[in-house]
Amino acid sequence: MNKLRTTLSDDQISALEAHLAGTLKPVTPPMEIVQRLRNRIHFPERQVIVLRLRDWQRMFLVFGGVMSGMLVMITVARAFFYLMRRHM
């Protein structure tokens, strides 16, 4: 009796496998999921984001430097014209 419980006949194996094959079918992921996953995978890693932030800081410094330089040049030009007008 115990042997019967621990063995499977060929018919039972075939039937079980047919049930399993019918139930466990390959699933194709929906296109929107594939696209979202692709976007997530290509999302930059933390190091890349840090690098980009560093670049952004550098850009900010460059922009600030250019603006400061322009302010100095305008101030010098104004002083120059002021002095020229006084001499004339």
């Binding site: 039937a15 019918g22 139930t23 079918k25 992921p29 996953l37």
Partner: protein, 190 residues
């Protein structure tokens, strides 16, 4: 992508050197398989999507550590997926049941509607039974039936010999047969 053009060894080397396009090729090649595996282990699309993304992100971050020691890249990916799914189940261990409502049960062509209904009910019940099996048995069934892998291929992924996989499969079928009997699913071949 044609298999002829795909030299996995070359692509893996490039991906390990940080070539994102090369990793993209690996992603395209294995996405469906990993998604299927995670989907059947979690039972819902949302978590399957999230975990699949994490599998590939982890693979991308650690691909430099991957070395081919007789273990195919696919086996390495499945192991990552297995670990993430195990963590996912651990995190949700308080839940009593995982929703399986969105698992597709597709009718076969030419079947009578009533017969389809019975079949889909049986499939739904069988899926519940499969989810109650120990994780390694679930893995085995998914790899065998969804991925159509041989015992030898499954052995490489599960880190077992071909004979051990065969034995585990037999025990899994026995266990399923006993539970199926309680659920009134017909085991008649028709």
């Amino acid at each position: 992508m044609l298999d002829k053009e795909f030299n996995e060894e070359d692509v893996l080397t490039r991906a390990a050197q940080g070539d994102r396009d090369a990793f993209g090729l690996l992603y395209e090649r294995y996405l469906d398989r990993i998604f299927n595996y995670v989907y059947y282990r979690t039972g819902n699309l949302h978590d399957a999507e999230d975990l699949t993304a994490r599998v590939f992100q982890r693979a991308m971050n650690h691909i430099k550590n991957y070395t081919d020691r007789g273990v195919p890249f696919s086996a390495w990916l499945y192991r990552i997926a297995h670990n993430l799914v195990a963590n996912w189940h651990r995190d949700r261990s308080r839940r009593q049941e995982i929703p399986i409502n969105d698992v597709p049960v597709l009718p076969s062509k030419g079947d009578h509607p009533e017969r389809n209904l019975v079949r889909s009910q049986e499939e739904s019940t069988l899926l519940k039974l499969i989810r109650r099996l120990p994780p390694e048995r679930q893995n085995l069934l998914i790899l065998k039936f969804v991925e159509n892998m041989s015992n030898a291929e499954i052995g490489k992924i599960m880190g077992r010999s071909e004979g051990a996989v065969k034995s585990l499969y037999h025990r899994t079928l026995l266990s399923l047969r006993d539970h199926i009997g309680d659920q009134h699913i017909s085991l008649d071949n028709d």
